[in-house]
C-alpha cells in the first residue's frame, strides 16, 4: 500500500479511524466487550424511540448473529425499557426499524469504513432499514488502509453473498449538492470500538 496512503498525522488505527469518522458524520465510542457494546446499542435504541418520528418498528432493536446467552439477556433488558429485541422477520417491516446492531469483521481507518460480511438476509437488511445502525468492531481488527484489508476481504468474497463497506450514515447530495443525511438507509451510524 504505497500510493494512496493518507498523510494524516494519526499513526494509530483507532485515532485515524476516529478522525476519518468525523468527516463522514459517524460517531465513534469505546466499549470493553460485546456485552458493553450491546448495552450501548440498547441505550441508542431507547434514544431513537424517544426521538421518533413515530412509526411501526421504531421500538425494534435488531441483533444479528451473536453467540451465547447475550441476546436473551438483552431481550429481557429491552422488554423492561420498551424496546423489542428481534432477530429476524425484517421483510415484514414496511418502513424502518429503530435500531440495528451489527458486528463488523474489520474496519479501515483511513476512510472510517466498517466491513460487514453480511451473512443472512435479515442481517444485511437490518443495516439498510434501520434509522440508527450500531456497528461494533474489535480494536485489533481496525487496519490503517484499504490495502491492508484486501487479503481478508478477498477471503470473505470466496463465499456466495455480500460483503458491505459502510462508512457513515446514508446520505445524498443530489439536490443542489447540499448534503442531507439519512437517504434510504440509516440517519445515524455509531461505531463501537471493542477492547483496549
Amino acid at each position: 500500500m504505497s500510493q494512496g496512503q493518507s498523510a494524516g498525522a494519526e499513526t494509530n488505527p483507532v485515532g485515524l479511524f476516529t478522525a476519518s469518522a468525523a468527516k463522514v458524520s459517524m460517531g465513534v465510542s469505546r466499549t470493553a466487550d460485546l456485552d458493553g457494546a450491546l448495552a450501548v446499542a440498547l441505550g441508542l435504541a431507547q434514544e431513537r424511540l424517544a426521538q421518533g418520528p413515530p412509526q411501526d418498528g421504531l421500538d425494534m432493536l435488531f441483533l444479528c448473529g451473536l453467540p451465547g446467552a447475550l441476546p436473551e439477556k438483552y431481550r429481557a433488558l429491552g422488554a423492561e425499557r420498551g424496546i423489542r429485541v428481534i432477530r429476524d422477520g425484517l421483510r415484514a417491516v414496511r418502513g424502518w426499524i429503530g435500531t440495528a446492531f451489527s458486528l463488523a469483521s474489520l474496519a479501515i481507518a483511513e476512510t472510517a469504513t466498517l466491513v460487514l460480511s453480511g451473512e443472512g438476509e435479515d442481517a444485511r437488511l437490518s443495516g439498510m432499514i434501520s434509522l440508527t445502525h450500531v456497528i461494533a468492531v474489535r480494536e485489533e481488527k481496525i487496519l490503517m488502509a484499504l490495502g491492508d484489508a484486501l487479503p481478508e476481504v478477498q477471503a470473505m468474497m470466496g463465499r456466495p453473498g455480500h460483503v458491505s463497506f459502510v462508512s457513515g450514515p446514508s446520505r445524498t447530495a443530489d439536490i443542489e449538492r447540499v448534503l442531507a443525511l439519512g437517504a434510504h438507509g440509516p440517519q445515524r451510524v455509531q461505531a463501537l470500538v471493542m477492547g483496549g
Binding site: 504505497s2 500510493q3 494512496g4 496512503q5 493518507s6 498523510a7 494524516g8 476519518s20 468527516k23 463522514v24 421483510r91 414496511r94 418502513g95 424502518w96 483511513e110 476512510t111 469504513t113 453480511g118 443472512g120 438476509e121 444485511r124 437488511l125 439498510m128 432499514i129 484499504l146 490495502g147 484486501l150 476481504v153 478477498q154 468474497m157 470466496g158 463465499r159 456466495p160 453473498g161 455480500h162 460483503v163 458491505s164 463497506f165 459502510v166 462508512s167 457513515g168 450514515p169 446514508s170 446520505r171 445524498t172 447530495a173 443530489d174 439536490i175 443542489e176 449538492r177 447540499v178 442531507a180 439519512g182 437517504a183 434510504h184 438507509g185 440509516p186
Partner: protein
C-alpha cells in the same frame, strides 16, 4: 476563402448547408439554456462547489501515482478482456449467478425484458445506471407494461420530470431545490390536494429528501425485480461492486427476488487490488468523498427469502454495444479507462454554461463527447463533438488520465472523413499547411478588407462577423505580416553585448504573423535588450492546430511535417520561441503523435522540435533572466489571464505572474485560469456560449479593479480585447511581451 481564413469557416459557409442536420435545434437549445437563470444559478453553484471541494479530497495523496495505477490496471484488464470475461463468468456462475453478454442495445433490452417476463415481474426498482440509460431500458420496460421506479434521488427527480440525467453522478444537478419542490408537488410526493401544501419556495433540502425516502420505501417492498449498474466486476472471484451513498443500490440488490446487474464490458477487472485502485479515486474525484458511504461487493447468489428457491436470482448482464470496437481503436482506446466519476463535466467551461442536457447524449461531459460517437453513432455525435473549446480542463482533472480533447478532435476528423468536409474547410485544409497559398489568400483578404472602415462586417475580417458573432470586435489583418516586415527590416539591433547563448528562432503562428505582428516585435525588442539575436525561418507555416480542431487531420499532419523540417532538423535552431501558448502546446504534445506513422527520422525531428519550443514567459524569465533592474515599473494594476494552453497545456504558471510583477503591480484576481471562451473555431461555431464565457471572465476582471489584463496567447488577447472593446474598453488587454516591452528601461 477570404473570410474566416485563419480560425475557421465563415458564418455564410455555415449557413449555406455546411452545418450538420440538427445543428439549428442544438443552437436553439443552447440559447434556451443560456437564458435560463435557474439553470445558470444551479450550474454556477455546482461548478464553484466542485472546484472548492476537490483539492481537499486529494490532500496528502499523490494524485499522479493514483492515476497511473488506474491506467495500468485498466490497460492490463483491457488487453486481456476476453479472458477476464470467461473467468468472471465461470466464477460467478459457480456461485449461482447467471452471466449474459449482449452485443448491442436492442438485444440487451430484449434480454432484460425476457428475464422480467420469465419471473412474472410487474414492478421494478432501479438504482442509477448509465448503462441502462445507454440502452434506453426504462422505455422498453414501460412499453411492456412494467412499472419502473428510479430510486437514486437525483435519478428519480429527473424521472418524475420526464427528463434524462444532466450529470453522470448527480443527475438532477441542473435543478434548484425550489424546482425539485415543485416537481414533488406536481407529482403528489408532497402536499396533495387535501393536506397543507408545504411552500415550494424555500423548501429545505432535508424535507425534500425525507419526502422522497418515504415515497420510495413502499416501492422497494413491492418490486419483484431490482435493476442496478455496477462500478466494477472482478474476474477472480466473480464479484460485482456497487458504490452508492444513499443505500438504494443495496436495497435494489437485496429486497426483490430477482436482481439484474447491467454493466459495460469495460467494467471488468482482474481482482480486488484493481478495485482498490478505482475506489481510491472514484469517490474523491466524483464528489470529493474519501469513499462512498456504501460499497457492496456481491459474489454470486445470496440467500433471499423473496425467491422461491431461497436464493437470489442474480443475472449479470455485460453490454458490448461498441466497446470492443473502441478496444481495437488505438486513438480512442483510452475512453475505456473511464471510471465514470463525472469530473470532466464538473470543470468544463461549456458544461458550466449550458449543463449536461446540451453537453452530452447519454454520457455527459468531455467523455460523453467521445463515447457518444462510438456507442450511439455518428448522427448522435455530429453536433455534440464540436461543442468543446479544447481547453484541456477535463484532461487535467481526469483520474484515468485520458487525453479527452485529443479524442474529441479525433472524433471530429472521423465525422469529417465520413460525412465530407464543407467547401470552406476543404480550402482551408489546402491553404493552411502551404505558406505560399496562405500568404496569397491573406493578401486577397487584406484587399477585401479594404481601406479602413469598409462597409459593415468587412471591417472585421478575417474572422467574419455577423449576428451573434458580434459579441466582440476583432482585429483587422495587419498591413504587413511579420514575415514580410522581418524580411525587409531584419531583427531589431541588439542593445546589450551580444550573447549567443540567448539566441532564439521565432515560430510565429498565424495569429502573430498576420494579425498581431507588433507583439512579436515587442518580444524581439525585449530579447535584443538583453543581447539576444532573433531569427525568423521563412519556411514555417501555421502550426496546424486550427486544422485539427476542425477535423482536418490531413492538413494538420502536413502543417506539422512542414514545420518540423524547419525547426526539428538536427542542425536547426536550438531554441524556438513562440508567443502563442496554443502553438507551443500543440507542437510539444501533438506533433509526435500526428507524424507517428512517418518513419523514425521524422519522429526524431518532431521530438527535437517539441524539446526546442519555448513559450515567451519561460524564455523571458529563465533564459533572458529579466529582473527588476530591466524595468521602469508601472504603478498600474495588471491582472493575469492564464491561457488554458499555458497552464494546462504547458504547465507554465509562475513565470508570467512574476514577469508581470517586474513591469507593473501584479493584481491577483479570482479564477485566473478560467477559460476566455475563444477556442478558435469554437467561438465561431458556438458564439452564444463563447460570449457567455467571455462575459463571465471580463466581469471578474473588471470587478477586481484591474487597469490592464495581461495574457500570453494571441487567441485570448484577441478574445478579451475584442470583448472589452464591445463593453466600452474599461481594461487595456495586451500580451505579456507588450507589457514588458513598454516598461523596459532605456539602455545607456
Amino acid at each position: 476563402m477570404a473570410k474566416g481564413a485563419i480560425f475557421g469557416k465563415s458564418p455564410e459557409g455555415d449557413r449555406a448547408g455546411g452545418e450538420a442536420p440538427g445543428m439549428g435545434d442544438y443552437h436553439r437549445s443552447i440559447k434556451e439554456a443560456l437564458s435560463d437563470p435557474f439553470l445558470r444559478g444551479a450550474l454556477e453553484r455546482f461548478y464553484l462547489h466542485s472546484k472548492a471541494s476537490r483539492p481537499q479530497a486529494f490532500k496528502g495523496l499523490r494524485l499522479e501515482s493514483l492515476t497511473k495505477a488506474v491506467r495500468e490496471s485498466k490497460e492490463a484488464a483491457l488487453s486481456g478482456l476476453e479472458g477476464l470475461y470467461d473467468r468472471f463468468r465461470e466464477r460467478a456462475e459457480s456461485k449461482g449467478a447467471v452471466v449474459h453478454r449482449c452485443g448491442d442495445a436492442a438485444s440487451c433490452r430484449q434480454l432484460i425484458l425476457a428475464i422480467a417476463k420469465d419471473n412474472g415481474v410487474s414492478a421494478i426498482v432501479k438504482s442509477k445506471s448509465m448503462t441502462a440509460e445507454e440502452i434506453a431500458l426504462n422505455p422498453a420496460l414501460e412499453a411492456a407494461g412494467i412499472s419502473v421506479s428510479e430510486t437514486d434521488l437525483g435519478e428519480w427527480i429527473v424521472q418524475l420530470r420526464g427528463e434524462g440525467p444532466s450529470h453522470m453522478v448527480l443527475p438532477a444537478i441542473h435543478l434548484s431545490k425550489d424546482e425539485v419542490a415543485l416537481t414533488f408537488e406536481e407529482s403528489r410526493v408532497i402536499g396533495g390536494p387535501q393536506g397543507a401544501r408545504p411552500p415550494a419556495e424555500g423548501a429545505a433540502v432535508e424535507a425534500l429528501v425525507r419526502a422522497a425516502r418515504l415515497a420510495l420505501r413502499p416501492r422497494f417492498q413491492e418490486a419483484h425485480m431490482g435493476v442496478t449498474g455496477a462500478n466494477f466486476a472482478l474476474a477472480d472471484s466473480g464479484t460485482i461492486g456497487i458504490c452508492t451513498n444513499e443505500g438504494n443500490g443495496r436495497l435494489c440488490a437485496t429486497l426483490p427476488g430477482v436482481h439484474v446487474a447491467l454493466l459495460g464490458l469495460d467494467k471488468l477487472l482482474p481482482g480486488l487490488a484493481d478495485a482498490a485502485n478505482l475506489l481510491r479515486v472514484l469517490p474523491r474525484n466524483a464528489t470529493a468523498q474519501d469513499i462512498t458511504t456504501y460499497v457492496s461487493l456481491i459474489s454470486g447468489a445470496a440467500d433471499c427469502q423473496a425467491s422461491p428457491t431461497g436464493k437470489k436470482k442474480l443475472h449479470i448482464v455485460f453490454l458490448d454495444n461498441g466497446r470492443t470496437g473502441i478496444l481495437k481503436d488505438p486513438a480512442c482506446r483510452e475512453l475505456l479507462y473511464c471510471v465514470r466519476c463525472g469530473a470532466c463535466a464538473n470543470v468544463c467551461p461549456v458544461y458550466r454554461m449550458v449543463g449536461g442536457h446540451r453537453m452530452g447524449h447519454v454520457y455527459i461531459g468531455a467523455v460523453g463527447l467521445g463515447l457518444t460517437y462510438f456507442l450511439h453513432g455518428a448522427a448522435a455525435a455530429r453536433n455534440l463533438a464540436w461543442n468543446c473549446i479544447g481547453c484541456g480542463a477535463c484532461k487535467e482533472v481526469c483520474v484515468a488520465g485520458i487525453d479527452l480533447p485529443s479524442i474529441v478532435f479525433e472524433v471530429r476528423a472521423r465525422l469529417r472523413e465520413a460525412e465530407g468536409t464543407p467547401m470552406a474547410d476543404r480550402l482551408l485544409s489546402l491553404v493552411l499547411p502551404n505558406r505560399t497559398l496562405f500568404g496569397a489568400a491573406l493578401k486577397v483578404a487584406r484587399i477585401a478588407q479594404g481601406p479602413f472602415g469598409g462597409p459593415g462586417p468587412v471591417r472585421h475580417l478575417p474572422i467574419a462577423l455577423s449576428g451573434d458573432r458580434g459579441f466582440r470586435a476583432l482585429p483587422l489583418l495587419a498591413d504587413k505580416a511579420f514575415r514580410d516586415s522581418f524580411r525587409e527590416a531584419g531583427p531589431p539591433p541588439v542593445a546589450a553585448a551580444p550573447d549567443p547563448s540567448l539566441d532564439a528562432a521565432i515560430f510565429a503562428g498565424c495569429a502573430h504573423d498576420y494579425l498581431l505582428p507588433e507583439e512579436l516585435w515587442d518580444a524581439a525588442g525585449v530579447a535584443a535588450h538583453k543581447g539576444a539575436s532573433i531569427s525568423f525561418p521563412m519556411g514555417q507555416v501555421c502550426c496546424g492546430l486550427p486544422a485539427l480542431t476542425l477535423g482536418l487531420r490531413g492538413a494538420a499532419v502536413r502543417a506539422a511535417l512542414a514545420n518540423i523540417e524547419v525547426f526539428g532538423a538536427e542542425d536547426g535552431p536550438s531554441r524556438v520561441l513562440t508567443l502563442c501558448a496554443s502553438c507551443a502546446s500543440h507542437i510539444r504534445h501533438a506533433y509526435q503523435r500526428l507524424v507517428g506513422g512517418e518513419g523514425e527520422e521524422t519522429r526524431a525531428k518532431a521530438a527535437r522540435f517539441a524539446g526546442r519550443i519555448t513559450d515567451f514567459a519561460t524564455y523571458a524569465k529563465d533564459v533572458l533572466r529579466l529582473g527588476p533592474r530591466d524595468f521602469d515599473r508601472s504603478p498600474e494594476r495588471a491582472a493575469y489571464h492564464s491561457p488554458c494552453h499555458m497552464s494546462k497545456g504547458l504547465g507554465v504558471t509562475q513565470a508570467p505572474r512574476e514577469l508581470i510583477g517586474l513591469a507593473a503591480e501584479y493584481l491577483p484576481t479570482p479564477e485566473e485560469e478560467l477559460c476566455c471562451g475563444f477556442g478558435g473555431s469554437f467561438s465561431l461555431k458556438f458564439p452564444e456560449e463563447s460570449a457567455a464565457i467571455l462575459s463571465r471572465k471580463l466581469g471578474i476582471l473588471e470587478a477586481a479593479g484591474a487597469h490592464t489584463v495581461v495574457s500570453d496567447c494571441p487567441g485570448c488577447v484577441v478574445q478579451l480585447r475584442g470583448g472589452e472593446e464591445k463593453r466600452g474598453r474599461l481594461l487595456r488587454v495586451e500580451h505579456l511581451a507588450t507589457l514588458l516591452a513598454r516598461r523596459l528601461k532605456a539602455k545607456g
